[in-house]
Subunit: 139 residues, 2 copies
Amino acid sequence: MVKVRRDTGKAVERLRAVGLRPTRQRVELASLLFRNGDRHVTAESLHDEASGLGLKISLATVYNTLHQFTHAGLLRQVVVDASRGYFDTNTGDHQHFFLEDEGTLIDIPGEEITVAGVPQPPAGLSVDRVDVVVRVRRG
Amino acid sequence: MVKVRRDTGKAVERLRAVGLRPTRQRVELASLLFRNGDRHVTAESLHDEASGLGLKISLATVYNTLHQFTHAGLLRQVVVDASRGYFDTNTGDHQHFFLEDEGTLIDIPGEEITVAGVPQPPAGLSVDRVDVVVRVRRG
DNA sequence: CAATAGTTTAGAACTATTCTAAAGTAAGAG
DNA sequence: CTCTTACTTTAGAATAGTTCTAAACTATTG
């Protein structure tokens, strides 16, 4: 008989693939983050979600884990709001709408949007990434 | 005989023009901000600069003033770093290089850079602004 | 299954920012 | 000028998000 539980096999694989020990906490967070399509979370929102599901994970671990996932290339950080840090499960080429009223992010596929005319960076520096944030509001 | 002091006349005018009472603190900060060309400051950096010149202005006032100037349209906020808020004296159409290693901003004129293909925003929302941040690093 | 290297955690600490309420000041009226 | 009043400034407390610390815990290896 098999225990009734969320399918965590994929999460374990994914963690092993990037060299992260698949601890209970990491597996649970990875399951939440990567189960469905692309997601945008803050440490707090993910912690609340996990807690709401009865998972016991400290906020510190959520922070640690989000950063580890980011370094491992499973997540990407998005800077749109001076007061919170967002993490995006979509690590591919894309940009964002930021709904300023509610603090929500919506992906814009990389193929749709184009940035032209970026000048040469100052000597000795190279472009790491070009981020586009389309800030939208009610009205 | 005229007192030897920084020329604050312009600053006073500028403040009056946007309906802000030209108090000593606001005049001094405006003088620092708008004397030379475009500048990018954080509350802390501006406070340090003022203090270094012997000006007595509390950090709280620097924060208040930066926000008032922003609401009045004299400054613009730039979000590039999750941990600090930057204010830009260039309120016109332009974008930024962000030197991640040192936390410095460099303007990219609005004429040089173009963003094409921004999709229609979700129903009921309208585009407030399109921000482009070109993140660069050593190497 | 023991050893150990890596992980989690509670709580303290930190950083940037905002708030509070008391003291100070610019501007207009008289 | 000087009074009055509304607006400002300020020190310090408070807050929010995040990071740090060191002790307890656990996955993995031998």
